[in-house]
Amino acid sequence: MSEHVATHDDHDHGPEKGLMRWVRTTNHKDIGTLYLLFSLLMFLIGGAMAMVIRLELFQPGMQFVDPQFFNSMTTMHALIMVFGAVMPAFVGLANWLVPMMIGAPDMALPRMNNWSFWILPFGFAMLLSTLFMEGGAPAAGWTMYPPLVLQTQDAFPFLIFTVHILGLSSIMGAINIVATILNMRAPGMSLMKMPLFVWTWFITAYLLIAVMPVFAGAVTMLLTDQYFGTSFFDAAGGGDPVLFQHVFWFFGHPEVYIMILPAFGIVSAIVPTFARKPLFGYSSMVYATASIAFLSFIVWAHHMFTVGMPVAGELFFMYATMLIAVPTGVKVFNWVSTMWRGSMTFETPMLFALGFIILFTIGGFSGLMLAITPVDFQYHDTYFVVAHFHYVLVSGAIFSIMAAAYYWLPKWTGNMYDERLGKIHFWLSTIFVNVLFFPQHFLGLAGMPRRIPDYSLQFADWNMVSSIGGFAFGLTQLLFCYIVYKTIKGGQKATDRVWEGATGLEFEKLSSPPPYHSFTEAPQVK
């Protein structure tokens, strides 16, 4: 017979108690927290691999690891940072923020949300287990170009299966975010009233849905080439290995924007708050984001100018790539215009947002240099490329995630973080990220190839500087872990609005921390 579990006065339905709360939860806040903590763990693991890379490159000659393991480290570092740290961090932020920003009580498909997260740890456990397999972990680069990747030994099928699991998780996450944004908006929350973080995630989710099958198909064809006698990418059987590069980058370039568009949304939330002015050019920001997403489909071959391409093709991809500077410039100018004559203050989230704008723009400029086809013939596969994409991904994407963490952590926990420690974290991160990556421009221009464990003597000085920057940047991130831990444990109580200039439903309508179930009555948006 059924059991009457609560009286009508029992309205504070909170989370389940114990560890199983986290396994069975369908609450968007719980799942957002799981994603964010998981991505922090992956950030530390991927960061430890980066430390191995910088340790080996500290001096010329082979010191600590053998070349095969070094290549495994570069490959695993990239896979873990892209699919384990940056993407889950943005999905975690979306889980926490999208429902609160649009006035929804939860995600549209809460049970699928639970699955999306919980398949991730299995995927990464499988990927990390390859470190202990015969032949070692995958070492052919995150791009998995054949025929090199087909030399991977026991780890190969596990790599492919991991990619499928991560792809499935991403697709389910993207569908959920799209469904939430389309169906769960509060009355009055029209599309053009949505916060930019929601817009950028909506467009990101669209990109994910569009390109993930391409990646899944490509890696499956690698698998059948290896084990089932097909020759999709095997020249001996009539296939074409260069075709894999086209397919990979058709996925890979939108993937790069998948990792940066939500960052634009975060910065667009933070800058107006600390400039105490509304965002300049909201509509143009939306259209610029959509333009970047569209252009991401037609620029993939700029990653492979040197494979041999008709001049017309090279020209097309060069000009298409340069076009991206237009909508990206619109964004940068809008952020600067928002700050123009604003009543600016420089709390930690704003510092990280400003760091993002300046350093991401440097990464954008080196990207423009790489887009120039004849010049790229010299830069291709050198440390200049490594410097470029780390400026975009570390001081771009990861700085934005740090900014978001400082900005919304008081809202999530109800406690203010330690501002002094936050500022120390920012300055150390900013100084050392430049010490780490700026010299890599010089190394690349001087001709140092990427993915090598040893190098000529003329590259020694800047490699040593870069490694010192790397170790210091890595250690600084432990301070971030401490700040987050300290904030979760306690601290000065945050107000509901948290920041004087903060706007949006999560700051105006919800307490700090928000109730376990928020917006049980849909707010009216004016």
């Binding site: 309205h11 697709i171 169906n183």
Partner: protein, 168 residues
Amino acid sequence: MYQTTKGNQLPISASNNTADTHQIVVRPNASLTPGGATLFFACVSIVSLGIAIRFTLLGLWMILPFALLELALLGACILYILRRNDRMEAIDVDRHQLILVQKDHGRERRQQFQRYWVQIIREKGTHAWYPSRLLLRSHGKSVEIASFLDEEERQQLEQNLRMAIAAG
């Protein structure tokens, strides 16, 4: 009789309330219209299938099955959401009776209870994902209501319903 209206409706709304009569309408929060859903699915399908077919023509046919699988999942999720949006329950309480009208995917079911005998019961759900079920019960007849609401909304409805039955 009752229209299942779309577009940013509140999940629980009360209307026509007087001292003796109360009407509570419950529907899932929905900002997505069937037209909007179709447009979105078409936009995704054209791009996804266009890419997959182009690659198939280049000999890379394995992308197409993955694109189809993904679109099937997306389509199923959208259909599920639209079906959930289409549900509506109206509860009319007057001096003597409680009339429940449940509309689900075009089907309308109308049930009548005596106001003085009807019980509102919250049972434990079958799974942690369904913490509780809300039932109207009278004379051996029991009907589940508001299964499409989240837990907090269901608790709010229970409170509103108890007040409506107790009033007058």
